[in-house]
Symmetry: C2
Subunit: 328 residues, 2 copies
């Protein structure tokens, strides 16, 4: 098994990307392929791990502020080379914390879609109160969707959750403005009818259900998904900001907070995206994990594990089989 990590383009440079990948290598047996500037990467690899690491050198990478379309022409860039290798089956998965638009465009162009998939989707893992995760897709790859796309998102999310996450049961919900079947917009009402084909479809769910452990896979278009995820992140950050502000403003609060350190640590661990790794790009004919640009080493390690699990559990094969069954 060969997993490639785009060692360039993250917000914090190559160090956390490489360190996280090496941590994964200590816990699982695979070949790590690091794509990026050899001069930067090589000094980061300890002697005892060198036999398990391959470096594919390149000079270029796509910076965050560049356009995703320009990535299609940058043949010497780290993500271009990684996708080319995935296309040629030289590797079994790609993890990138670089420009996510570039990663998506290149994945779709280079490796194409799975059979019966019209639109790939970004599948984001969200924390929920039982300590497990829920999946929200699409998180931003497709801002204008047709009902058929949402149906596919449901199937893909289900197959991913079933293979990668340890749920006793995976339930699919359709994000709407109310739980009743009559709720939804024109598009989701048609998607509702399509999703009924799946035995694990539980109907409409609402924004708060993402976190309450009553549904595992939440289906929506990428415009809605993106807005919901960014708002959720905004609420969590705002609460954290206000809590710190109010603590600092009160000597008694500062004293009390000293004893709450472990409580805050546990809470942070439970809602921190670093614990979740990256978001798989489901529906492309390869194994691609898109990480937050601000990913730390821990997030990268977990993302590499996601790539390994997706490969080992043949998620893409299962998606094709399921879509073949439901579409025909």
């Amino acid at each position: 098994m060969r997993i490639a990590v785009d060692a360039m383009g993250g917000d914090y440079g190559s160090v956390p990307l490489v360190q996280g990948s090496l941590q994964a290598l200590k816990e699982r047996d695979f070949t790590l392929v690091l794509v990026g500037d050899e001069q930067v990467i090589k000094p980061l690899i300890p002697a005892n791990l060198q036999s398990k690491v391959e470096i594919v050198h390149c000079n270029d990478f796509i910076a965050m502020e560049e356009s995703a379309t320009s990535a299609l022409k940058r043949k010497e860039s780290s993500i271009y080379i990684a996708m080319e290798m995935l296309k040629n089956k030289a590797i079994d998965g790609v993890v990138s914390a670089g420009h996510s638009g570039a990663t998506m465009s290149l994945a779709t162009l280079k490796i194409g879609r799975l059979n019966n998939v019209l639109r790939p989707a970004i599948c984001t893992l969200m924390p929920r109160i039982d300590g497990n995760k829920s999946l929200v897709l699409d998180a931003g790859a497709n801002v204008d969707c047709k009902p058929e796309n949402l149906f596919e998102f449901g199937i893909m999310g289900y197959e991913y959750a079933r293979a990668i996450l340890n749920y006793p049961k995976v339930r699919i919900g359709l994000l709407a403005n109310g739980e009743e079947e009559c709720k939804g917009n024109e598009m989701t009402k048609v998607a509702f009818e399509l999703l009924k084909k799946h035995p694990n479809f539980i109907g409409n769910v609402e924004g708060n259900n993402i976190f309450d452990s009553n549904v595992e896979v939440i289906v929506c278009d990428g415009f809605v998904g993106n807005a919901v995820l960014k708002a959720s992140e905004g609420v969590a950050n705002s609460i954290s900001f206000l809590l710190k502000k109010h603590i600092k403003a009160s000597p008694i609060g500062i004293f009390g907070a000293l004893f709450m350190k472990n409580v805050f640590k546990k809470l942070k661990k439970q809602i921190d995206y670093a614990e979740y790794g990256g978001a798989p790009l489901l529906g492309v004919n390869g194994n691609v994990i898109i990480c937050h640009g601000k990913s730390n080493a821990k997030a990268m390690k977990n993302a590499v594990f996601q790539a390994i699990l997706a490969y080992e559990n043949a998620v893409n094969h299962n998606i094709e089989v399921a879509l073949e069954k439901f579409k025909n």
Copy 2:
């Protein structure tokens, strides 16, 4: 000035609805018209306030689980009677914590729309980190929108914010999947062009901007708005749940939390919807405030103040003037 409160149909019965309204009466000079079951309401009114309160008796009200359309026929229900009074100019505003769908349907049917308004919108107030509020509209009245509707939401939200909330400047943002002008879906991209007509339009904003004090009025369709608001509520509730759980599980945490009481209280005050009152239904030819079914007395008091301020500041007149200007 005569403000009516639907004294029936909230999740906790008439008591908090009446108590909150009476609290408003102690702070501001107006006539309070309570619409509901006289036998329930009358005992709640102290002798010294009776001269400022009128009771309009009715036997019926729309329960939360009933359909909004059935409300149109229930002529003896509290919200029907209140809307009839608003239509006949017997009152200057209506506040209701009852069935919001029924309130919306009746408002649109009975009192109609303002000139140049195609679709009324629910305008929700959200907490932000500077202690002020931002407005999100539409929060759920219109699940399928055209660009023209979003343009109107922007104008209506701006006029409401300008009149009711004390901002030095009111900025209008369009909710999208990125801040760049090229972001958005087919519908919001056209709305972007329309909103450019307004000098206070600052372009696309993202879900997290609702809370970060960089924009005052956030425009979106009611499907997206509803999902975003419910997800935000879900995150806040989940964090509160997890925090309590982790505190309870740790004796040191319990000890620390004792000293944090004031900090938590301040935080709660800042993010609690009770502090915000209700959501105005903007675009109807009357002054209607829709409250959360779970509104406590404080939320009701603040909602009554909102109705008073909207009336005093002639928000509806200003909306008509602005739309006339921008549409012609």
